[in-house]
């Protein structure tokens, strides 16, 4: 089976996010980047399938954030091919633009199964996975916790989670795109020595694609960190004093006459 995985870079929430001066976007220049947690699960799921089925795994990522490290790490974990899509901007592409970019590269790879994290924490216009499936005209199942080889050739079995911890087991005919919530096992640890070896031994394939122009359907008016609510006031003293103070506050708020 030929599997492709999309790995996205998202701002690492370990650092305080900063808003750009115009107040409508994140200051990506000040951010630290990390691989999207759910994409990382998608990669792990692909590697588990590779180990059980002998599949080949191609990882596709946009040239954004700390992408090289992520790609080498994926290679050290066992990905066969690592592909980087050129991207010049300091900001990530809008949803449909991203879907068009990934779609063009994925078509060239000819993957039977595409695994993408079913969400990421910087999605402003909705999740990428179903949009990518739509662009590629592929069947899509999202919020999946585990992908296994199917009973028949050319199919897979997926476990889709519904609210209330209800899990449906589904058979999906390939080719298909799966939105991964979690792999069957936690993403593996890869020692630094292997990553360093991958840096020397595995070339990153640069994929040349035309950047599609797409008007963003969402126009951000203001981006801001949640404003702290007014401070709570702790009332001390005897019951009478506290009661008196409550009355006073209610009166101040115009709730008591």
């Amino acid at each position: 089976m030929n599997i492709a995985v999309v790995l996205r870079q998202v701002p690492d929430l370990i650092e305080t996010l900063e808003i750009a001066d115009d107040g409508t976007r994140l200051d990506y220049g000040a951010a630290r980047f990390i691989v999207n947690e759910w994409d990382n699960h998608a990669l792990e799921q692909a590697l588990l399938l590779k180990e059980s089925e002998g599949s080949s795994v191609t990882v596709v990522a946009l040239d954004f954030g700390e992408v090289d490290n992520t790609l080498y790490e994926a290679s050290a974990k066992g990905a066969d091919t690592i592909v980087k899509i050129p991207w010049d901007s300091e900001e990530p592409p809008a949803l449909r633009q991203a879907a068009a970019l990934y779609a063009e590269v994925l078509r060239g790879i000819g993957a039977e199964l595409i695994l993408v994290g079913c969400q990421s924490h910087d999605e402003l216009e909705g999740p990428l996975a179903p949009q990518l499936a739509f662009t590629l005209n592929l069947p899509y199942v999202g919020v999946v916790r585990g992908v296994q080889p199917g009973d028949q050739p050319g199919s897979i079995r997926v476990f889709k989670e519904f609210p209330g911890a209800v899990v449906a087991r589904m058979s999906v005919r390939l080719p298909a795109l799966i939105g991964v919530l979690a792999a069957e096992k936690a993403p593996r640890y890869v020692p630094v020595s292997r990553i360093r070896a991958a840096m020397k031994s595995t070339p990153i394939r640069e994929s040349q694609v035309d950047v599609p122009q797409a008007a963003a359907p969402v126009n951000v008016l203001r981006l801001y960190v949640p404003e702290a609510p007014e401070r709570a006031e702790m009332l001390d003293g005897s019951a009478e004093e506290v009661a008196e103070r409550i009355c006073q506050i209610l009166a101040e708020k115009g709730l008591l006459r």
């Binding site: 370990i14 650092e15 640890y189 020692p191 630094v192 020595s193």
Partner: protein, 703 residues
């Protein structure tokens, strides 16, 4: 000589020579095999500091130093048996040479050599007494970890047999000489030199008193002589197959011990498919398998084993020995690696066993043959890491270290937050030259409990007018515990990043409050596995100290003056990486004494200190639930401190200890009884006022 007889038509000397030749050949054959296996290990440089090595060899092998300082009974029994062995090597050599050459020349036997003969005679009895005592210990007292195997029993019986047959042969020889002299024949043995043989003389008299004739005793002596020779030859062949192999290999192990520094690790060997099984270990690590005497001292001091973990250092070495001999046989025959056999790492020795080790060095401190359990465990962990076989919490810590340079998953930008909350600025060592570079470490920087202590330390140094600075957000975890989890690649990455930062800093000396960091900077950064290059050049030749040493110096030189003598009664916990690893025992105690506090020692102190259980990356791993009446090492240590009458404070000199013992005190419910306090906090309590005054006076003088 007893060989001057004819057996089955051939002279006795010929039989003896034949038997000796066969047995020596078998012995040599086995020894060659063992050496051929050993040289299949990875290289490890152990030819440095030869005079020191010889000194240690003389003290610990010939002088039996570690045994003399060790556990009761065996602390005198083993040295007696060993020294007896050395004397009997001479006696036996003379016996064989004399026996074989008897038809042609007379070779003086040991009983006819004054002094030496007396010593051997006495030691025959002393060894028997020592064997009885050590057997009493093994079979009646039964200390945990000491095995009661057939092998051990057989060896005791063989040695006892050797002593008894020697004494009987000696008595027979004496009577034979007497009878010959009485018959007017020439004597050239014991009688000629009149060597004093107290044991043989006394036993001979007892034999006569028991009604045994001298002629009978002579015959018994001849039989005993041959019996002695037979046992000796059997022993020679059996020795390199038995646990008593340690007799041959322990001296080699001590000679090539980890010297002069402790806790340096060999470079990671090539792992994976192309590596042969034996090459996964260094030759010195393989040698540990040969040298182990299975005495169980390591087990008896292991904090992991005592807290109920499935970790026995002795069994790890036993598994290694089994592996070495089995894989060695294949390797020597040129056969491919074994298929189907259980893998050593992860199967024969489960991963949980290897992860349970806190790398506290207690086993190595105790080991009389200087076996290297910790590097072996780390080497096995390297294999686990290579396979990605690690638990989730350790993975989280290592991933965080890769990304952020700290194990706590904190932003590097927040590393120096503690410094911003001080009432005085701390120098940014990257921007201005400093005398002392303070390498703060993760826990001291980020852990809220430790941050207050870090600030107190800064205040003490500020008031003592120490010129110091920190690396702010550019400092990364030094990598001590990372290295000991087996993640060598990550350790090297951290060391490279820190070395790069050091390059641009002007400093003369380095200090840290964290003994783990201290050990790493002092050893892992300045000594490479092959001891030929310095991995971190900016630290080359720099003085690196623990803050306890710096505080001791400041107090001694009067830069810190004790204004208020403290009347606390305290006990001090020796951190493993400060004490056992680096031998710093006195500095923290000197500081405490200078403050006026009364230091009451815990039963396990200095090199016998009991680990808090945090080292070697254990602090990042989840503890298995302590069961079966066991408690965690830190809890055991807190109870030990609590058992001391009048002690109010458990003084620590390690940020990890602070965290571990504060937790343990809550777990055992001792918050009202005992308080964990850092050394710097007590110093501050005693010196603050005076230094503040002094500083103010100086400022007044300046104005």
């Amino acid at each position: 000589m007893p060989t001057q007889i004819t057996i089955l038509g051939l002279p006795g000397a010929v039989w003896l020579a034949l038997a000796a030749a066969i047995c020596v050949a078998l012995f040599v054959h086995r020894m060659i095999f063992l050496v051929r296996v050993l040289i299949r290990g990875s290289p490890e440089y152990r030819l440095n500091d030869i005079p020191l090595r010889i000194g240690v060899f003389l003290r610990e092998v010939l002088g039996q130093e570690r045994l003399l300082k060790g556990e009761s009974i065996i602390n005198w029994a083993h040295p007696l048996i060993f020294w007896g062995f050395c004397l009997f090597v001479i006696a036996s050599a003379l016996m064989f040479v004399g026996g074989i050459l008897a038809p042609w020349v007379h070779v003086p036997q040991v009983e006819s050599i004054p002094v030496l003969g007396t010593l051997v005679d006495l030691f025959a009895v002393l060894v028997l007494v020592a064997l009885a005592a050590s057997s009493f210990r093994r079979y009646v007292l039964r200390p945990p970890g000491l095995q009661r195997t057939m092998d051990a029993t057989l060896v005791v019986m063989l040695i006892a047999g050797l002593m008894i047959t020697f004494l009987l042969a000696e008595i027979g020889g004496m009577f034979k000489e007497q009878l010959a002299a009485e018959a007017g024949q020439a004597t050239e043995g014991w009688l000629a030199t009149q060597t004093w043989l107290p044991a043989a003389s006394l036993l001979g008299k007892l034999m006569l008193a028991a009604g045994i004739s001298r002629e009978a005793a002579v015959s018994v002596g001849v039989a005993a002589w041959w019996g002695h020779a037979a046992i000796l030859l059997f022993f020679l062949v059996y020795l390199p197959y038995s646990k008593h192999m340690h007799l041959l290999w322990a001296p080699v192990a001590v000679l090539f011990a980890e010297l002069p520094r402790r806790g340096t690790l060999p470079p990671a060997t090539a792992l994976g498919e192309e590596s042969t099984p034996l090459r996964q270990f260094t030759w010195r690590q393989l040698l540990s398998a040969y040298a182990c005497a299975e005495c169980g001292r390591c087990d008896r001091v292991c904090p992991a084993l005592q807290s109920g973990a499935d970790l026995s250092p002795r069994e790890i070495i036993a598994h290694l020995k089994h592996f070495v001999l089995e894989e060695g046989k294949r390797a020597v025959k040129g056969q491919p690696r074994s298929e189907g056999r259980k893998r050593l790492v992860g199967e024969e020795i489960p991963a949980e066993t290897l992860w349970a080790c806190a790398t506290c060095y207690a086993c190595m401190e105790q080991c009389p043959v200087r076996n290297e359990h910790v590097p072996i465990v780390v080497q096995m962990r390297r294999q686990l890491i290579n396979e990605g076989s690690i638990d989730a919490s350790l993975q989280e810590a290592l991933t965080s270290l890769q990304r952020y340079g700290n194990s706590l998953g904190q932003s590097p930008r927040k590393r120096a937050e503690w410094a911003k909350r001080l009432e005085f600025p701390i120098k940014d060592a990257r921007k201005e030259p400093v005398d002392w570079l303070w390498f703060v470490g993760d826990y001291a920087s980020y852990d809220p409990r430790c941050q207050a202590v870090t600030q107190t330390t800064a205040r003490v140094l500020h008031l003592a007018r120490v010129d110091f600075g920190i690396l702010m957000d550019k400092e990364q975890n030094a990598g001590n515990d990372v290295r000991r989890t087996g993640e060598e690649g990550l350790f090297e990455l951290l060391r490279e990043k820190n070395a790069q930062v050091f390059e641009g800093v002007s400093f003369q000396q380095v200090f840290t409050t964290d003994p783990h960091t201290y050990h790493s900077l002092k050893n892992d950064y300045t000594v490479s596995g092959n001891q030929q290059e310095v991995p971190c050049r900016p630290l080359q030749g720099k003085r690196i100290v623990h803050y306890s040493e710096l505080l001791e110096e400041l107090l001694r030189e009067g830069k810190l003056t004790v204004r208020r003598r403290l009347d606390h009664v305290v006990t001090f916990h020796d951190p493993c990486y400060l004490g056992r690893y680096n031998g710093v025992y006195e500095a923290p105690r000197s500081v405490l004494r200078a403050l006026g506090v009364t230091v009451v020692e815990m039963p396990r102190n200095r090199e016998n200190s009991f680990c808090c259980g945090a080292g070697g990356g254990r602090i990042w791993m989840k503890d298995a639930p302590a069961g079966g009446g066991h408690e965690r090492p830190a809890e055991s240590r807190v109870r030990e401190a609590m058992s001391l009458p009048g002690v109010q404070y458990l003084v620590v000199a390690c940020p990890k200890d602070l965290a571990m013992f504060q937790d343990a005190i809550k777990t055992v419910g001792a918050e009202d009884r005992l308080k964990v306090v850092d050394l710097a906090e007590l110093v501050w309590e005693a010196v603050a006022e005076s230094c503040q005054m002094k500083a103010e006076q100086q400022e007044l003088a300046h104005t």
